[in-house]
Symmetry: C2
Subunit: 359 residues, 2 copies
């Protein structure tokens, strides 16, 4: 699904066209302009001065945690099922985590969040979420729920780190905008070229109020000086000759087919054994149901059949047993024509595993 030929040309051209491609350097203006354009597709108007380049979205999370966590009384509101990379970014600072119940169908429980914030001492000042294409739950919050959530967070003066790396990969007619479209000051937005161009370039971005940019620069310099100039120039060279918008259409069309195929095959093989929702965005499906047994143990059985997934407990903030029979499976890496075989193998692994569970 990645544009190999185009990026190979772009890489050679980037170095041939400018010796600056191999040196340290300041961020590329063209890339920031493209990001402003991508943000416009997400219904966010922002200025180039609000865009900050990072070594992938993961570094964006790491820098934002460093920037936004207070030096004392550190407390962060998170969904009880959360992208583990965010927890890894928090780890060096060891804040108190305030988990909020997240329903597998309806997503974040706003009333529960309100209650959790009120109960918590110290009060959380930061909240991390992925409203579109949640990883791992694959849910996308409705625009209505966005309003309720932002109202709650504003009331409690909690800043949002919004991880929108799947925001440009929505598969239905009407794309849901990010929280950042509702609030310029209360939301710091994270995006990435990893899912739309290539992960190995390690280029992501933050859209933040201008008051944060100087402090982010200092933290970034301390972390890795600057975002690889070569990667930046490869992206700039790519954009010069190719349209990101067409690229996104190709990705959406292909991932949509993979998603639909996986959904259909799951219905054939696992109906009644597991439940899931057909996601409208992102790369994943979230399977749950007692029929799956202990998915951590299931994994080794599945690996023998050369099928892979992530057991749900890996995403649980409390490593709760509630997630014993849940898993995240990915449709993004599997071509549609191989999907049947993959799902059949997964189902066979689950069946293999049943008698041993019973024994």
């Amino acid at each position: 699904m990645l544009p190999y030929r185009e990026l190979s040309d772009a890489a050679a051209r980037a170095i041939d066209d400018s010796r600056a491609s191999l040196q340290y350097g300041t961020p590329e203006y063209q890339i920031k302009e493209s990001i402003v354009e991508l943000m416009r597709m997400r219904e966010v108007e922002c200025h180039i001065n609000e865009v900050f380049l990072t070594t992938g979205a993961q570094q964006a999370l790491s820098l934002l945690v460093q920037l936004l966590l207070p030096s004392v009384s550190r407390s962060v509101l998170v969904e009880e099922v959360v992208y583990p990379g965010f927890r890894q970014a928090l780890e060096p600072f060891n804040p108190r985590l305030v988990p909020v119940r997240t329903d597998f169908v309806h997503g974040l429980d706003i009333e529960a969040a309100d209650w959790a914030i009120r109960q918590s001492r110290p009060k959380p000042t930061l909240f991390y979420t992925t409203c579109v294409g949640h990883n791992p739950l694959s849910l996308t919050m409705s625009a209505g729920a966005h309003n309720g959530l932002m109202e709650l967070l504003c009331r409690h003066r909690i800043t949002v780190i919004e991880d929108d790396v799947y925001g440009l990969l929505q598969y239905e007619n009407r794309a849901v905008p990010p929280l950042r479209a509702l609030s310029k000051d209360g939301v710091v937005y994270v995006g990435s070229f990893s899912k739309i161009l290539a992960p190995s370039l390690r280029v992501g971005w933050i859209v933040a109020p201008p008051k944060y940019i100087a402090a982010l620069s200092a933290l970034k310099e301390g972390s890795d000086i600057n975002t690889a100039t070569l990667s930046q120039r490869i992206i700039a060279s790519y954009i010069e000759r190719h349209s990101l918008s067409s690229r996104l259409n190709i990705l959406r069309d292909n991932y949509r087919v993979r998603r639909d195929t996986m959904h259909r095959e799951l219905l054939c093989e696992l109906d009644g054994i597991a439940q899931w929702q057909k996601p409208t965005a992102g790369f994943f499906m979230w399977l749950h149901g007692v029929g799956l047994g202990d998915t951590t143990k299931l994994l080794s059985t599945a690996m023998k059949r050369r099928v892979d997934f992530v057991p749900g407990t890996a995403f649980s903030v409390a490593r709760s047993q509630r997630y014993r029979s849940t898993m995240r499976i990915s449709f993004s890496h599997c071509p549609a024509e191989a999907m049947r075989e993959a799902v059949v193998r997964l189902a066979a692994s689950i069946r293999d595993h049943q008698p041993r569970r019973a024994a």
Copy 2:
């Protein structure tokens, strides 16, 4: 001085040869093998399991600070003139800094270090240094001084972060080995491809005792997931067809000429006005002397003549006025044939500045 043509080919080849070049990935075995080879040139025997890849040497410093700083009673021994990137890496953790006097000619004062360690509460547990091609002082410690320093640090159970990014760029017959050659457990070593291949690849490395590697991996994942696979594969492709050893010889030969030319031109233009030593390693010369006036103010005058340097106070831990008349100049970026003009401009800037200082 960078191998543009070779790296442009390597970049195209890396993507054409393997689709994995555009994905997330585990570190390249070939690169780690090359690093073991480079370490051997530095008289260090290490195993591939002790090598850890980072997004440039700066990330190595940042991760090591996170790994090695205790959670309470944070105290770090530093030379009073230090690479600012190390201070930036420390900043998020705000440790107490214990500065040690560093002489412009003789380098770190070991007796003063012993005294500073004894006086300090909490006791420092970490020390950062560049023994070869010090940045900014451009000094290289003698092997004898290495022994004294390691003895002191072992006695006080202080771990060393050794920044050896200029270790492979020594210009005299006998290269000085790093501290790591003396101690496997007390020294964590940092190297980089930035100075020997290209900075924009953002690939550096740590050589650390194996007990640290798992913790480094977790911190690295939280910081930026993994070191750009594309950069890794570009280096691997380069190494496949070209010898790093020949590359190092080319660099040393060229930088030696630049250094000698700068030294000669400085003798013509600034003898009696400033003092400096001809460095045996690295990229810099350190000028000092009251004749330079206030180098922070001098900078704007020099910039008008399109000559650049870094005022010495930028490297002072205490921002001390002792460094008012010091500066770091770099010979690495200036071709030998342009060196006369550059030094003449610098000298003219200093002369320009004199009357205003007197007035």
